[in-house]
């Protein structure tokens, strides 16, 4: 445990000092403040922030995560020659990467939002926690990619494609599917397909929590019923956790067996 703490700590130290993350944080603060200042309509603010938090943040998460891991390869090697467990190092690396992102999200988006008093704290909490879960998911996918793909440029390409798939291509398939099978009772399948994708799930989860929910019509009402039920809450949370857990643990086992 102590070793895990040390590894996490030094990583956080390293990442927090990076210009990248400082610029990104200030960028977020600035964008969020501008959005609040210029729109001043709570639902529009949420919608604009959703794009940042559910699209941009994951992209930064997966790319920054991958780049960081590729850059740290030699250092990881060196640390591994010390008498510590590989699993401890892996978990430490993950925590060390994820925690700065959580801080960045809270500082960059949460603070300006809380200061503006425009959106109820409950919803801010929801927005932040969903965004944090998404970042964790994409960082954990970055871990999966970097443990399997040695070549840096290929790895980054794949990271980008995975991001693009989850936030864009997947929705295209969903739309195509719903057109193609319109005449069938596909309500539940669509529901399932939407829930499987963490970005879609995050988006709908937030949409359903403010007044725009009604615009999703009857289809949205089905979601509302599902998501607001206690089982639904558990399932939506579980889906996000699974998305973190599966790439993380596949990467974990690979990392343990890997040759450096």
């Amino acid at each position: 445990m102590e070793t895990l703490y040390k590894i996490t700590k030094f990583q956080i130290q390293n990442i927090i000092r990076s210009n990248w993350i400082i610029i990104y944080t200030f960028g977020l603060i600035l964008t969020t403040s501008l959005i609040i200042y210029f729109t001043n309509d709570s639902s529009k603010v949420i919608v604009s922030l959703m794009t940042i938090m559910f699209i941009l943040n994951p992209l930064i998460g997966i790319l920054f995560g991958s780049i960081y891991l590729y850059n740290s390869r030699e250092f990881i090697e060196l640390v591994l020659t010390q008498p510590i467990k590989r699993s401890t190092l892996y978990s430490g690396l993950f925590l060390g990467l994820v925690i700065p992102f959580i801080l960045v999200t809270i500082v960059g988006v949460g603070l300006p939002l809380a200061a503006s008093n425009l959106i109820e704290p409950d919803l801010i909490g929801n927005l932040l926690s969903t965004s944090i879960l998404l970042v964790c998911i994409f960082v954990s996918i970055a871990f999966l990619i970097t443990t399997f793909i040695v070549e840096r440029s290929a790895g980054l390409g794949i990271a980008f494609i995975i991001w693009l798939f989850l936030c864009w291509i997947y929705d295209g398939f969903l739309l195509f599917f719903s057109y193609a099978f319109q005449d069938y009772p596909i309500e539940r399948i669509i529901l399932a397909l939407t829930i499987i994708n963490p970005i879609d799930l995050a988006r709908i989860n937030i949409l359903l929590r403010f007044e725009a929910a009604a615009m999703l019509g009857i289809t949205g009402a089905v979601f509302q019923d599902f998501i607001s039920a206690s089982l639904g809450k558990v399932i939506t949370f579980a889906v996000h956790l699974i998305w973190i857990f599966i790439p993380f643990s596949i990467g974990y086992f690979r990392f343990k067996k890997k040759d450096f």
Binding site: K6, L78, T81
Partner: protein
């Protein structure tokens, strides 16, 4: 000190180590030499536990490498290329390694800082250090503790002549204190100047394993470089 028995390692279809049998004598410096891609680094990484070998056994002072990771306490390792987290200070990295190494005492720290004139660099961020300084940092990290075994991968590459001499002196000093060394190198002339034994690896097999002096004598050449070239010609 180190005993390697019948070691095999392949990456997919590519066989890198094909039955290595080797031992590093206690208190001796063994130079591991061979062309690029011959398997030197892989062999090192097998000893360090970075690479999982397919078959064979490595014992370090009767510790089996594949059963427990604590044997790494015994080893000081200097990688060929040192790359460190950019936004940490040199001193922070040194502290981290000390913390991660089961709290062994960094008995040599002051001596090393003195030796490499590292004091002015301690509080600089890694991203502001030159390549040579980073190599010195790697050396400091490798020699921090009184280890029984030192594994050095091209220790002098990228160092200025003065630092190169310093490192050689350091190696000699540690050897006199009873440490065992495995040094990977390209430069035969350099190896000749401080190593006791020569291990020459070619395509995953050991072709030479003998004390340097004996090897030169048997080939009847002037120096190690000529001897090795001569030996390889005969082999072909």
């Amino acid at each position: 000190m180190v005993t390697i028995k019948d070691l095999y390692k392949s990456y997919g279809k590519l066989e890198v180590l094909k039955g290595i049998n080797l031992s590093f004598e206690r208190g001796k410096i063994t130079a591991i030499v061979g062309p690029n891609g011959s398997g030197k680094t892989t062999l090192m990484k097998c000893i360090l536990g970075l690479v999982h070998f397919n078959k064979g056994k490595i014992l370090i002072d009767s510790n089996d490498v594949s059963s427990n990771f604590n044997y790494r306490e015994l080893i000081g390792y200097m990688p060929q290329i040192g790359r460190y987290p950019e936004n940490l200070k040199a001193i922070e990295i040194i502290k981290l390694i000390i913390e991660l190494s089961n709290n062994r005492k960094p008995v040599n720290l002051d001596y090393l800082i003195d030796l490499f004139n590292f004091q002015p660099h301690l509080n600089k961020f890694v991203k502001n250090l030159s390549g040579g300084t980073i190599q010195k940092l790697s050396a400091i990290l490798a020699f921090l503790f009184d280890s029984k075994l030192y594994i050095l991968d091209e220790p002098t590459a990228g160092l200025d002549p003065i630092a190169t001499v310093d490192i050689k002196n350091l190696i000699t000093k540690k050897r006199e204190e009873g440490a065992t060394f495995a040094v990977v190198s390209h430069q035969l002339t350099e190896v000749e100047s401080f190593a006791d034994n020569l291990v020459f690896i070619l395509e995953g097999k050991i072709v030479i394993d003998s004390p340097i002096k004996d090897f030169i004598t048997t080939t009847g050449k002037q120096n190690l470089e000529e001897a090795v070239i001569d030996f390889l010609k005969v082999q072909n």
